[in-house]
């Protein structure tokens, strides 16, 4: 029985080290990230990117976190050249760099951004939405009429690498998320060439109920263990904890 079991484990095991994961993230990489205000952004991978000294990143994700929280740490450290996002208000460093010309930002309504990332992951060319019609959002975009109604064509987004924070992962890369830490993670997980997951817990194959899995392992290339959140949340800082 040793033969077949080894074959199966080899075919299904994606558990790797931080170093192996970081090999895919280099200067100029197009990088998608999970998280919403930092919640659900992968702390260990972000720390690793900082330590490795990666720069000129092209980021795609919901927001820029807070100055010391989530993906905001990369922005604050000046490692980001370009950004597609919906919101940078909670990280003043992003706005400052943008006005100084150090950071190029493309804004997108949040729901449209989520759908564009999903469309990328789903192999679609884009979606039709009327959100943003009549505002600057429509500038430079194709429009089509469907059943007498006008829609913007919002094109799909993909990335070279996606970084994910999961609650549990098995060796095949099946994932669950931690409560509202889900947010953009399952979308981003589908939309990159290489998807790297940092998991709070790596469980044996078969330990996850097939019904509780939010991201099927097919989307995942690497799973590394998380060292846990290494920042203070904005609300903790305000309360002086």
């Amino acid at each position: 029985m040793v033969g077949p079991i080894n074959v199966r484990e080899q075919a299904l095991s994606k558990v790797a080290t931080l170093e192996e994961a970081l090999a895919y993230i280099n200067d100029g990489t197009i990088l998608m990230y999970g998280g919403f205000g930092g919640i659900g952004s992968p702390p260990t991978l972000i720390e690793g990117i900082l330590q490795k000294g990666v720069k000129d990143l092209f980021l795609i994700g919901n927001d820029t976190g807070f100055p010391g929280v989530g993906i905001g740490r990369l922005v604050t450290a000046g490692r980001v050249r370009k950004l597609v996002t919906s919101h940078i208000g909670s990280n003043p460093n992003a706005g400052e760099q943008m006005y100084r010309g150090a950071l190029e930002v493309e804004f997108c309504p949040q729901g449209t951004l989520a759908e564009r990332i999903r469309a990328g992951g789903m192999g679609l060319g884009g979606i039709l939405t009327d959100v943003g019609i009549g505002t600057v959002v429509e500038e430079g975009k194709q429009k089509v009429e469907v059943n007498g109604k006008e829609y913007l064509i919002e094109t799909s987004l993909t990335a070279e690498v996606a970084i994910i924070h999961a609650a549990k992962a098995d060796p095949f890369g099946n994932l669950t998320y931690a409560r509202s830490g889900r947010n953009f993670n399952p979308l981003v997980a589908m939309a990159a060439d290489i998807t790297i997951v940092e998991a709070d817990e790596i469980v044996p194959l078969g330990a996850l109920d097939p019904e509780e899995i939010v991201t099927p392992g097919i989307y995942v290339n690497m799973v590394i263990p998380s060292q846990g959140v290494n920042w203070k949340w904005a609300w903790e800082e305000k309360k002086g904890r």
């Binding site: 919403f36 205000g37 930092g38 919640i39 659900g40 919901n62 927001d63 807070f66 929280v69 996002t85 919906s86 919101h87 940078i88 208000g89 909670s90 706005g95 943008m98 006005y99 930002v105 804004f107 309504p109 949040q110 729901g111 449209t112 989520a114 759908e115 999903r118 939405t129 009327d130 959100v131 943003g132 009549g134 505002t135 600057v136 959002v137 998320y177 931690a178 409560r179 509202s180 830490g181 889900r182 947010n183 953009f184 993670n185 399952p186 979308l187 939010v214 959140v229 949340w233 904005a234 609300w235 309360k239």
Partner: protein, 219 residues
């Protein structure tokens, strides 16, 4: 003139009176977030957040926060029995499809036609639109909560917004530290004035013309 810190709960409390039993409600970042802590007794509201929660409640007690149970502003919340988690496409699917009975949003500027500008101060500050465009365009009822004038003392309720718009002709009600103003097809109607102010104060602090009915209330 600036908005006293203590006035923010006042605005949120007044906005909470727009809640009705069974409503699905989304709260923006800032003052809107505080509305969840002022739901009037005897009604049940289902709060929704863009990060992917339906059915959250008040803020947790200090020490009971779970960083992974947060609203769209990243602040911890509690959960109701009907709560569910989902990804952000589903959160915005609910919004885009028109399931939100009410949204409470902040504003940089509002026009007398109900235009809303709240995502960029050109040349100065760019928070970004977040989910405000989706919400302002799609919620059945849009309530704006804001300080009545800017930090520089300039009116925020204008004939025309000068900042790029978040949405056109979509705001239904404006609640500030000075007044409650309804947006109607024929212009802005002053509904209520805050205890500390006179009608004349509100008119002075508002660039857009205000229709003043005989029965202006107080809050």
């Amino acid at each position: 003139m600036g908005l006293g810190r203590e006035k923010r709960p006042l605005i949120a409390r007044r906005a909470a009176h727009e809640l009705q039993n069974g409503m699905i409600v989304n709260l923006g970042i800032g003052i809107p977030t505080m509305v969840a802590d002022f739901v009037p007794e005897g009604i049940h509201v289902v709060f929704q957040a863009e990060n992917g929660i339906l059915g959250y409640g008040t803020s947790p007690r200090e020490g009971e926060e779970d960083p992974f149970v947060c609203n769209a502003g990243g602040l911890p919340v509690t959960l109701m029995d009907e709560a569910s988690y989902f990804d952000s496409t589903v959160a915005f699917g609910m919004i885009r499809r028109g399931f939100l009975d009410l949204t409470v949003l902040g504003a940089l500027q509002v026009s007398e036609k109900g235009d809303l500008a709240n995502w960029i101060v050109p040349g100065k500050r760019v928070p970004g639109m977040g989910g405000a465009i989706d919400l302002a365009q799609k919620a059945k009822r849009v309530v704006v909560v804001t300080e009545h004038v800017s930090r520089d003392g300039l009116p925020k309720i204008l004939r025309e917004c000068t900042y790029p718009l978040t949405v056109r002709e979509s705001v239904d009600l404006i609640i500030t530290d000075m007044a409650v103003i309804e947006v109607t097809p024929s212009g802005l109607v002053l509904k209520e004035v805050a205890r500390e102010y006179e009608v004349a104060d509100v008119v002075r602090a508002t660039e857009a013309p205000l229709f003043i009915p005989e029965d202006v209330g107080q809050f």
